[in-house]
């Protein structure tokens, strides 16, 4: 059975997280993804941690995860020969994904127009900090800036401690994910109309609509209740320290009875202060004190097991060990082992979804320039003489 996107060819001239996550999703669905790396490689290759703690462009965990199943071509787009080779590859591609600052891509002499001239059906997906137009379009950004500009940071953390960014690279992942969806819409349109187009994704814009109702609420009420509330949206929605970590509870109105049953606290169930969700809100501090005392002596895995599949939403904050040991993730085959010639075998998170007819491609990440010669010859149609010249001028193989 062919893979879902079998036959689709994607060129990625992207670095770090956003465009590479977009490319990774394409590769996972079975598309051929050719990653064009600048001399020295994607900057994610310099992002630790590395195997044995020693910096090595082939063992960055971030890079290895984000580039599974791709081919790597090392090409210097700043040279005329490198740019020419890129356009010859673009002529044979369905999608080009990039995440340059708009001014930086223009400086390379690459625009939607040059790609369109080489291939009218090609879809160009640009994933940038602020989008292609507007007053910030060419401003520099990175992870922290994306969280600050998108509003997410303002609602995370405590009032006293100040705004807090999410751990990891959420904002860039959102950019990659939105880039993939929009690229697929454009691919479907190209099949219908025979015409590619330029797709413009802004990471700031990706973050803004995913906030919990801040915008319409403010507009309706002229004020906003969404202050930073740290780990407690209310006493019954939040995190409590336990003996070996942190428990999380999330109790909607109908979960209260199953919850008090699961933790064996009929006294709480019968307490008139806590009868309805409104009562519980009214006596929030008292209930919070009860929960702190309840959680303190517990062991996280034990209480999680006891809660079982009853409608008692108890969970616990997973450390990396908890993730790797997770009975659910292991039972579903989400954690997959992939070998790599330099980094060795690692546990990778598998597909974000499962489809009925075929699987997720789990090829390893490429070595820097591993496929330069093969791709330039077989896809770009370059002769061995041309490749020799390129090797001297615009590429290392």
């Amino acid at each position: 059975m062919p893979s879902t996107l079998d036959g689709l060819r994607v060129l990625e001239i992207g670095t770090f997280v956003s465009a590479p996550y977009c490319g990774k999703l394409f590769a996972g669905y079975g598309a051929e993804v050719i990653k064009i790396e600048p001399p020295g490689g994607d900057i994610a290759r310099a992002h630790g941690p590395f195997r044995d703690g020693l910096p090595n462009p082939e063992t960055s965990a971030l890079f290895l995860y984000l580039n599974t199943g791709k081919k790597s071509v090392e090409l210097d787009l700043r040279t005329a020969a490198g740019r020419d080779a890129f356009l010859r590859l673009a002529a044979r591609a369905d999608v080009v994904v990039e995440n340059f600052r708009p001014a930086d891509l223009r400086a390379l002499g690459i625009t939607y127009g040059t790609i369109q001239a080489a291939n009218p059906r090609a879809v160009l997906v640009s994933i940038t900090a602020f989008g292609q137009q507007g007053p910030y379009a060419d401003y520099r950004s990175n992870n922290l800036i994306a969280f600050a500009m998108g509003g997410q940071m303002f609602i995370t953390g405590t009032q006293e401690g100040g705004p807090l960014k999410n751990g990891g690279y959420q904002a860039d992942y959102q950019g990659g994910l939105n880039g993939f969806s929009a690229a697929m819409l454009a691919v479907l349109a190209a099949e219908r109309d025979g015409q590619g187009q330029h797709v413009d994704v802004s990471v700031q814009h990706c973050m803004a609509p995913i906030l919990e109702a801040g915008i319409p609420y403010y507009s309706y009420m002229g004020r906003w209740a969404g202050v930073r509330r740290g780990n407690h949206m209310a006493s019954f929605i939040g995190i409590y320290p336990c003996s070996d970590g942190h428990l999380g509870i999330h109790i909607m109105a109908r979960n209260w009875k199953p919850f008090t049953d699961a933790i064996n606290r009929p006294d709480l169930a019968e307490d008139p202060r806590f009868r309805t969700q409104a009562d519980r809100g009214q006596h929030n501090d008292e209930l919070m004190a009860e929960f702190f005392a309840w959680a303190a002596p517990l062991e996280k895995r034990e209480i999680y097991r006891r809660a079982g599949p009853s409608r008692a939403p108890i969970t616990f904050v997973h450390t990396m060990e908890d993730l790797l040991d997770s009975p659910q993730l292991n039972a579903r085959g989400v954690l997959q082992r992939i070998d790599h010639p330099v980094a060795g075998e690692g546990v990778y998170v598998g597909p974000p979804w499962w489809m009925g007819t075929d699987g997720w491609s789990t090829g390893r990440a490429p070595l820097l320039g591993e496929h330069t010669e093969e791709v330039l010859r077989d896809v770009g149609g370059l002769s061995s003489v041309e490749i020799t010249h390129l090797r001297r001028d615009g590429v290392r193989t």
Partner: protein
């Protein structure tokens, strides 16, 4: 101009946020989305209302409900009774996509199995969005966004080094929704070739995990113990927030290169501490991050965050004011991009709602053809148009409470 998903009919059985976020995107891209609720069980998001449950019509005042259900039409059907299931099955026979985010057992209990539905309509794509999966030991557990944030490692990595893990407020519902959309779009592409739909299982936990997954590999392969680092990060030095003039005003600053550092020192008026050669390179700045934080904090304390950010950005320094989540409407870049679209809702009037974060050059429509539906708003229209039900049949369904436009008991 043809909308990207024009002609695609989606029967939307989802509720709360993750599922409706997926169909919000589809509706914005031109799909015809028919949202199914019931008067017995309206979408739970209606209960997060800006009006108290004592006021009439409170279920039509959910700010988040209005946002994630833009562009959809609404039908109520009591799926616990055969008449409701019968109508739903007939709608599915005429549709391209069915999507749901119930607990896994619900669809089976309703007798809505993919194989049976596909036998009637082989082109149907069915997207199921359980919290933890259709199988495995946690199959029947309840999961909310915060559950996923706690399980995926996101909460573990969010917070200050000397404090507890912190809930990162909300990204997991949209992450799950949009990952489900990616799978659906890939299935549409495959249907172009095969002519057949398929079953897609897009779980909330696996979507969340995919967007934090490098940490699993870092720990599993290299044994690296990652810790919380507040607002600092491995790619910038200095990188942090600095309190500015006024209440709750902050400047975010993340210096990624030595050139940017030099520009920052110049912008600060080249103070002696900033010119220290020990700080000229990232390694030195990282080693003395606390000292730099004190200097920058002092410089920021009496300045205006937004003005400062504009000045620094113009000099090529990555900086930002921490933008208030409620006042994104004032952000000049989002304004210029057309982030907001004004939509009139019959109860709340005209308000601005966020648009999808992508622009397709070929598509210049308005994103939203209509506001979020009121409960059961399109019962007659859809059941008459698509299924040819008579006035008498509609009246009977209404009398029996199979359809309706007020929550039962409200």
């Amino acid at each position: 101009m043809t909308a990207p998903l024009a002609g695609l009919r989606v029967v939307d059985l989802t509720a709360f946020w993750a599922g409706p976020f997926a169909t919000w995107y589809l509706a914005a891209m031109g799909a015809e989305v028919i949202k199914i609720e019931s008067i017995q069980r309206p979408d739970g998001m209606r209960f997060q209302s800006v009006h108290p449950p004592t006021s009439d019509g409170w279920w039509e005042w959910g700010a988040l409900y209005h946002t994630v259900n833009l562009g959809k039409r609404g039908v109520t059907l009591d799926l616990t009774r055969p008449a409701g299931i019968d109508i739903l099955t007939r709608l599915l026979a005429l549709s391209d996509v069915a999507i749901e985010n119930f607990s896994p057992r619900v669809m089976d209990n309703l007798g809505l199995r993919y194989d049976d539905l596909a036998a009637v309509n082989p082109r149907l794509i069915m997207v199921r969005m359980p919290a933890f999966g259709l199988d495995g030991p946690w199959r029947d557990r309840v999961g909310f966004a915060q559950t996923m944030e706690q399980i995926s490692g996101m909460a573990w990595l969010t917070g200050f080094p000397d404090g507890p893990p912190v809930i990162p407020r909300g990204p997991c519902d949209p992450l799950a929704g949009l990952h489900a959309v990616t799978a659906l779009l890939a299935a549409l592409e495959q249907r172009e070739l095969t002519g057949r739909g398929q079953l897609i299982e897009a779980t909330m936990v696996e979507a969340a995990l995919n967007a934090a997954a490098e940490i699993v590999l870092e720990r599993g392969a290299y044994g690296t113990h990652l810790t919380r680092d507040g607002n600092r990060g491995p790619m910038g030095a200095p990188q942090n927030l600095y309190a500015c003039r006024g209440h709750d005003q902050w400047l975010a600053l993340a210096i990624a290169t030595d050139t940017q550092w030099d520009a920052l020192v110049a912008a600060m008026g080249a103070p002696a501490w900033g010119r220290d050669p020990a700080l000229a390179h990232a390694t030195g700045r990282r080693a003395q991050h606390d000292r730099i934080d004190r200097g920058v904090a002092e410089w920021c304390a009496e300045r205006d965050a937004a003005t400062l950010a504009e000045e620094l950005l113009a000099q090529g320094i990555p900086a930002a004011p921490v933008v208030s989540a409620a006042r994104l409407d004032q952000n000049p870049q989002l304004r210029a991009r057309g982030f907001f679209e004004r939509v009139h809702h019959p109860m709340v009037g005209a308000h601005e709602f966020p648009a999808p974060p992508v622009r397709l050059a070929s598509d210049h429509r308005r994103w939203y053809e209509r506001p979020a539906p009121t409960l059961g708003q399109h019962n007659d229209e859809i059941l008459r148009e698509l299924l040819g039900l008579s006035e008498a049949a509609l009246a009977r369904l209404r009398a029996d409470g199979i359809i309706g436009d007020r929550p039962a008991g409200a």
